[in-house]
């Protein structure tokens, strides 16, 4: 790492950059574009659910043949929910969240010049970009994009006869996801190696900020579980294109018997959820990690129970790989296996509860600086608890029978992983924007964004639980075919109104984000008076992160408001950065 001043061209600096900070920004912007598409889709299908059969100009404008006359077709509806799910889960909350902040923060917070392999890192981003392009292109296929739900259960996803979306749209979906998984693996391996090998002097594992612990463990779960999805997708490609029978058997469709014999769709479900459930934590843990850092910094207090937090992250990660069967209680899986999965699933509530209690205790007797990042973090704790609690119902096999695949599930997972994770992502953007762009975002727009988003998130997903308890299944194009659901229309309308408010509120964020890049006030070096190493690096980005030597780490990252024996703040300020040596007489945590 001798010479960081080699010549940069436009292409090597902004496009094929190997610098982790630039790659982080590329991930974020790509993720945001995908997020706009995903959220916009949800606004369209919410219109259909609240006003079934009514004509909307905007539906006709964007959906073409699938929205002729301003009313979307059932096939288009299924395509929208499928792609909304896929985009939000993988492209926004996996790549957009973890990709952005792992890249930005791992080298800066552990004190490294860059990722272990800048080239692999660049490759990882460009594969993600490619997979995004393929996914977006699949929206323009004549037979429509993949429509079998984001879980793409075969045979529905395997047979073009079963639905038009299972034709070319599904092929592109699988190709896109295969590239995505490769990208995710390259990224994860890089994060793991970097955290293990490139920590600066004094940065013991027990001095890592909780963000880094979260990214590190997330990367490990990703490496364990994503390859399984890749094999699941490959076998599905074989079944679709080469006539194998991994998932298919005894099928009569469109007037003829197909040749498939001996396969089982349940095999696919096992493989899918072996990734699918850890995926929840691949999304959630980074959000919780960011929140830990934001809450400690802005409460001006150490995060409560640092070691318990690490232990919970590890426990959650371990348990997350042995609970996938709770998605399959009523698939025909042996009921005994259902019992086992109920047991492991409910166990996850223990480390989750510990985390929630620790966040609440961190707020207690703090000196809370309620900037937008902090507001979103507190919002995350709230939605994480609200959504997490209903997990106790869904994880209990006996109770799951009656709410499985209903809107209750949709409400549950949107609160616990969708809203929580996106709140974590917003908190991260507001908090680290100065680190990314050297400028500050506008706080008032930030507050406005928070209030509209928080109110509409609860307004959408809280009432939704009750439509599920009324028996309304998910993925229903409308509920007018059943008189027993006629009285749910009013609730659906309320949900849609909040969804539209929430959707439009994101324009405030986008405006704030993009205009602040150019026009925001220049950021001071350490705007939030934070302890972690990234704030010791100069505001102006440079290759290698620090001019001269990398700072050494002398203490853990959470020495906020530490007092000496007389009860005075150490050094007269309420924070002590990690690179400040231990003072004489100081109690070391």
């Amino acid at each position: 790492m001798s010479d960081h001043h080699h010549k940069e061209t436009f292409v090597t600096k902004y496009i094929f950059s190997q610098d982790h900070k630039m790659i982080a920004k590329q991930y974020l912007i790509t993720g945001m574009i995908m997020g706009v598409i995903g959220i916009f889709m949800s606004m369209l299908f919410r219109l259909q659910l609240a006003y079934p059969g009514e004509s909307f100009g905007i539906i006709e404008a964007f959906l073409g043949e699938g929205g002729e006359g301003g009313v979307m077709t059932p096939d288009m509806y299924l395509a929208l929910v499928t792609i909304h799910g896929t985009i939000m889960v993988f492209f926004v909350l996996t790549a957009g969240l973890s990709g952005t902040f792992s890249n930005l923060l791992i080298p800066l917070q552990i004190g490294a010049r860059d990722m272990a392999s800048g080239f692999l890192n660049m490759l990882s981003y460009w594969m993600f970009f490619l997979s995004s392009v393929v996914m977006v292109l699949s929206l323009f296929v004549t037979t429509g994009p993949a429509s079998a739900g984001w879980t793409i259960y075969p045979p529905l996803s395997a047979l073009p006869q079963a639905m038009p979306g299972s034709g070319a749209g599904m092929t592109l979906w699988l190709v896109s996801m295969a590239i995505f998984i490769a990208s995710s693996l390259l990224g994860s391996l890089n994060y793991i190696v970097t955290v293990l090998n490139l920590r600066t002097k004094g940065m013991k594992m027990t001095r890592l900020p909780l963000t880094i612990w979260a990214f590190f463990i997330t990367a490990i779960i990703g490496v364990i579980s994503f390859p399984v999805l890749l094999s699941a997708a490959l076998l599905l490609i074989f079944d679709r294109s080469f006539g194998t029978s991994f998932y298919l058997s005894d099928i009569f469709i469109a007037g003829e018997v197909l040749h498939y014999k001996g396969g089982s769709p349940i095999l696919f479900e096992h493989l899918f959820w072996f990734l699918g459930h850890p995926e929840v934590y691949i999304i959630l843990l980074p959000a919780l990690g960011l929140t830990s850092e934001v809450i400690a910094t802005n409460a001006r207090k150490p995060i409560f129970g640092y070691r318990a937090m690490i232990a919970s992250i590890i426990a959650i990660a371990f348990l997350s790989t042995i609970v996938w069967g709770h998605h399959m209680f009523v698939t025909g899986m042996n009921p005994f296996l259902g019992s086992v999965f109920t047991f492991t699933t409910l166990l996850i509530a223990i480390p989750s509860a510990v985390k929630a209690f620790n966040y609440i205790t961190t707020l207690w007797r703090g000196n809370l600086q309620l900037n937008p990042a902090m507001m979103f973090s507190i919002g995350l704790v709230s939605t994480f608890i609200t959504g997490g609690l209903t997990g106790l119902i869904l994880g209990d096999s006996a109770l799951d029978i009656n709410v499985h695949d209903t809107m209750f599930v949709v409400a549950h997972f949107h609160l616990v992983m969708g809203v929580s994770a996106i709140f974590g992502m917003f908190a991260g953007v507001y908090h680290w924007f100065p680190k990314m762009y050297g400028r500050m975002m506008n706080k008032d727009l930030g507050y406005l964004h928070f209030w509209l988003t928080a109110i509409s998130a609860y307004g959408v997903f809280f009432p939704m639980h009750f439509t599920g308890l009324a028996g309304l299944p998910r993925r229903y194009y409308n509920n007018t075919a059943f008189p027993m659901f006629d009285d749910l229309l009013a609730i659906n309308e309320v949900i849609t109104i909040f969804a539209l408010i929430g959707g439009f509120a994101q324009l405030i964020f986008l405006a704030n984000f993009f205009i602040s890049i150019k026009k925001g006030p220049v950021s001071p070096q350490n705007p939030w008076k934070s302890n972690t190493l990234e704030w010791t690096a100069p505001v102006e980005h440079m290759h290698g992160n620090w001019p001269g030597e990398i700072p050494h780490v002398e203490r853990w990252p959470y020495d906020y408001s530490k007092t000496d024996e007389n009860g005075e703040l150490w050094g007269g300020q309420d924070f002590t950065p990690q690179n400040v040596p231990i003072r004489e007489g100081e109690e070391v945590f």
Binding site: Q369, F466, P473
Partner: protein, 346 residues
């Protein structure tokens, strides 16, 4: 091109929103963490958010009591499930009320002010032990009770004289077949589908001839699945094309139909359709529904049990249903006698 127009409107809104902030002179450069004024306003607003959440919770609980499924579960299994559900829901609501109060109250109470000092409190093994052990004990209880209920509901090994019925799913239609005199279903496979043999029953199987398929009424075209009150039914589920899920919300029963295999669920109806129509919850719900339907110019409806598809299966997934009629055993037997067996109908 219209799409482009909408996108331009969106971008314009974003610019307007920024300009407004600039006009109002709200951009500032001072203290980049929050100012005491911002802390004060937002801390108080957090209490408003808490109130909003509580009001929303109470409104949802109160306002939806008439649209939910009738409290009365219509099967023996539903009774077990409903008790467990009520306990779990009560626990969840209590914990939710307490924890949300703590979060928002602390946020309000400890909002930053000039001169407030945060309390350096990094660890307390005693506290952490307590809030590890408490959830662990509560969850142990839930797991044990949950698994006991699960066994009650799923275990069909010691059912005496069950009624065996096949439920057969296809895009976008339900078929059903009673096992007939011998109470044993004849084998089925999609490879036997031909003409009127829509469920692909192997007619060379000696158990098949007496099986009784459910057929649509020639006048109303409505198919009805009749079930006797008080006798345990074991459903054998098959699918001919893609995954489907047989969901009977009033009975708290659900199981997927998987092509290539036979899945199973048991259920003991305990409330007849006539009795459920007299149930107070049901009456109230359907009164409301009929008021709404009248306003839309639709005909009046009465309560009926229903089987619906609850696994995405294609374009008409949202309209794949079968009417269920639960009646006294004598009525059921009389009805079944009138139905044609497979041997007669094929």
């Amino acid at each position: 091109m219209k799409a482009l127009f909408y996108i331009i409107i969106g971008v314009a809104l974003m610019v307007v929103c920024w300009q407004l902030v600039k006009l109002l002179g709200l951009t500032k450069k001072e203290d980049q963490t929050a100012t005491p004024k911002e802390n004060d306003i937002n801390g108080k607003l957090m209490l408003v958010l808490m109130t909003f959440i509580y009001v929303l919770m109470v409104l949802s609980l109160w306002g939806t009591r008439e649209v939910l499924l009738p409290q009365l579960g219509a099967s023996a299994e539903a009774e077990h499930i409903d008790i467990l559900f009520k306990y779990s829901m009560a626990l969840i609501l209590v914990v939710q009320f307490i924890l949300q109060a703590l979060i928002f109250w602390f946020t309000f109470k400890y909002r930053g002010t000039e001169g407030r000092k945060a309390y350096f409190f990094a660890d307390s093994h005693k506290l952490e032990m307590w809030w590890t052990i408490t959830p662990a004990v509560v969850l142990a209880g839930m797991i044990i009770y949950g698994l006991w209920t699960w066994n009650q509901v799923m275990d069909a090994s010691d059912v005496e004289d069950p009624l065996i019925i096949e439920l057969y799913a296809q895009q976008f239609n339900w078929n059903a077949r009673y096992a007939g005199e011998d109470n044993t279903l004849g084998n089925g496979n999609v490879r036997f589908i031909k003409g009127a043999n829509v469920m692909g029953v192997d007619m060379t199987d000696k158990n098949a001839a007496d099986d009784i398929p459910v057929v649509a009424d020639p006048v109303s075209f409505v198919k009805e699945l009749h079930l006797p009150k008080g006798r345990t039914v074991i459903f054998k589920l098959r699918s001919q094309d893609v995954l489907h899920s047989a969901y009977m919300p009033h009975f708290r029963a659900q199981m997927n139909c998987v092509p290539g295999m036979v899945t199973q669920i048991k259920m003991t109806p305990t409330v007849t359709t006539a009795e459920m129509r007299e149930n107070a919850d049901t009456k109230k719900k359907f009164e409301n529904i009929n008021i709404l339907r009248k306003a839309q110019g639709k005909e009046e409806v009465e309560f009926d049990y229903i089987l619906l598809c609850n696994k995405i299966c294609g374009a008409s997934h949202y309209n794949m249903q079968l009417k269920i009629v639960v009646e006294e055993e004598a009525d059921f037997n009389a009805w079944l006698k009138k139905q044609k067996t497979l041997a007669e109908s094929l």
